[in-house]
Amino acid sequence: MKRIFVDEERCLGCRSCEIACAIKHSSSHKLEKAIQEQPLPISRIRVRKDEENAIPLQCRHCPEPCCVYACIAGGIRKDEKTGLVVFEEKKCVRCYSCVMVCPFAAIKLGEEEQPAVKCDLCQEEEIPPCVRACPTGALFFGQAEEFQELMEKRKKRGKKNALLNIG
């Protein structure tokens, strides 16, 4: 299946992906309106950053997802056809059981009545907006082998110029 992969050497921690994701998951789909929405739209991708490093984290759509077993509402399933780990948000009762087991801390809970959310890989988009928004090519959307190839190409080109050789 197509997934989002990360070349973390290229991540600057600019959070463009977070903004793009939040807009995509807003009701208006427009930045200027999205920031006024109540509740505020939540980004499903999360950039972790310290002095030296940064990396965007999001649902891996694991082959054997821990969250599916944990959900007490039966609201999470692994779709055998698409490979997606699907959250049925309307079933969420905010028990935090999925948060308890996700090794990537990829699940977020917003204010009060909001359901738990995570990356849905933006099925209706050709390329997820977070990937499109990344200015350095740190995010990649495709098959594992394609990403592998890309990484090998990039490695050959050398680390130093990574940010100058986008794509």
């Binding site: 299946m1 997934r3 992969f5 990360v6 070349d7 973390e8 050497e9 972790r48 310290d50 030296e52 490093n53 990396i55 984290l57 891996r60 694991c62 082959p63 054997e64 997802p65 821990c66 599916v68 077993y69 944990a70 007490i72 509402a73 039966g74 490979g83 079933k91 009762v93 905010r94 028990c95 935090y96 059981s97 948060v99 308890m100 087991v101 996700c102 090794p103 990537f104 801390a105 699940i107 977020k108 809970l109 009060e112 594992a144 990403f147 990484m151």
Partner: protein
């Protein structure tokens, strides 16, 4: 091949799916004591509050059983197992033969054992029917008592508070959630619940339930009389296994199973609240009566019944809940008993607390109150049993910075790997 499954909730349902992941053809018969399709037992709280209907609780599509070729004996109970004959007797007298048997009969609430317990208005909190009866009675009740300070009792109390009743929790031990979290978290959660209007009284227990046919109140063991129309008994659960008692199946706390969820009989398996498995953290045999464990065990047992060879790594005591907007999560060992090292971080005013427990350089437990988003990272570390002593302080800050986390996961760059429920690291396909 004829598979027989006793019990139709988390463990039984996943048993069916486990079998079908390998054997699409074998016959499956399911004996279900409750008269519904499998439902989300934990959500009877939401049913009681009134936000969920019965159908909202159903765990699978209507045609699930039919699609999976499962013959369901609804409203029937297993009464005796005959392992030598490979048969199970059910309550209408019939004996059903099996080639492989899954015992997934769960557990039932313990009783109070005080005078007057049989009066109307005294409830356990386990089934949809319990919730329905409580909801009915709550319509004309003003006050409810909860006996016991465990999660189930608190959930029932929380639901009744949400319905507008006065709620008083009566606990014999000095604090609530004594088997789920340690003292600091317990105190914080209790304070939060009290601020939201749930009264908590410790060091007390009921001596007698008062009233005629219906309960009107209770006498406590200090002689005090308290008026109430509803009492919830939250004293924990005991496994449903009376039908196995004379069968020769190994029973200790629950039905004892090995790493494959198999009992001492080759073709008999057990999973869920009825099964006693190895605890992943302590290594001791115990029942972790939890949804997550029941689902994982059910699935694993199903696979093994159908000839697969899936090892169950052991269960882990882990709870997550939210009351009035305050989340908390606890997992593994939460106390220092045997040379464990405790690291903690407090912000009492903000209702935030974090505790990590280390043993021999490994993370063996965690409790998080208020800010819980990184909990899964701790869970992964506990399951993988990696040495993390050099990361203790950073872990306590709430997150392991990714680079180090990645090393812990032994993952290659770019997060091309992930970890499975049983703690294995695998490549993303």
């Amino acid at each position: 091949m004829h598979y027989l499954i006793l019990g139709n909730c988390a463990a039984g349902l996943n048993g069916i799916e486990g079998i079908r992941s390998i054997d699409k053809k074998g016959e499956i018969t399911l004996i279900s004591a409750e008269p519904y399709p499998a439902y989300a037992r934990c959500l009877i709280t939401n049913f009681l509050i009134g936000t969920h209907s019965e159908e909202d609780l159903y765990l699978r599509e209507k045609d699930f059983y039919q699609k999976n070729g499962v013959k369901v004996l609804q409203g029937k109970k297993a009464v005796k197992i005959f392992p030598q004959e490979k048969k199970v007797e059910i309550d209408d007298g019939k004996k059903i033969p099996y080639d492989a048997l899954l015992i997934a009969t769960g557990a039932s609430p313990k009783t109070l054992r005080v005078k007057g317990e049989e009066k109307e208005g005294v409830f356990g909190f386990r089934t949809l029917e319990d919730a329905r009866q409580i909801a009915k009675r709550a319509e004309k009740a003003e006050k409810a008592l909860v006996f016991g300070g465990g999660l189930i009792g608190l959930k029932a109390g929380y639901a009744l508070k949400k319905k507008g009743l006065a709620v008083e929790v009566i606990v014999k031990s000095p604090r609530i959630l004594s088997r789920v979290v340690e003292e600091n978290s317990s105190r914080l959660i209790a304070r939060w619940l009290q601020e939201k209007g749930i009264k908590i009284r410790t060091g007390l227990a009921p001596r007698e339930i008062l009233g005629d046919k219906e309960m009107k109140g209770v006498i406590l063991d200090n002689g005090e009389e308290v008026k109430a129309q509803i009492a919830i008994v939250g004293k924990g659960v005991s496994p449903n296994l009376s039908f196995a008692e004379e069968s020769g199946i190994n029973i200790h706390w629950g039905i004892v199973v090995d790493n494959y969820l198999r009992t001492n009989f080759q073709e008999i398996f057990a999973a869920g609240d009825v099964a006693e498995t190895k605890d992943l953290v302590t290594g001791e045999h115990t029942i972790n009566a939890l949804w997550l464990a029941a689902q994982e065990q059910g699935r694993t047992a199903g696979i093994n019944m159908a000839g697969g060879e899936k090892v169950y790594p052991g269960s882990i005591g882990a709870n997550a809940a939210e009351f009035f907007g305050l989340p908390f999560i606890s997992m593994g060992c939460v106390q220092a008993r045997n040379g464990e090292i405790i690291k903690e971080k407090k912000a009492e005013k903000k209702f935030v607390y974090r505790r990590l427990v280390f043993k021999d350089g490994r993370l063996t437990g965690a409790v998080l109150v208020g800010e819980v988003e990184a909990a899964g990272i701790y869970m992964a570390l506990i399951r993988k049993k990696d040495r993390v002593e050099n990361l203790a302080d950073e872990l306590l800050e709430g997150w392991v910075d990714y680079g180090k986390f990645e090393k812990i996961l032994e993952g290659k760059k770019g997060f091309r790997e992930t970890i499975t429920p049983d703690g294995r690291l695998i490549k993303l396909p």
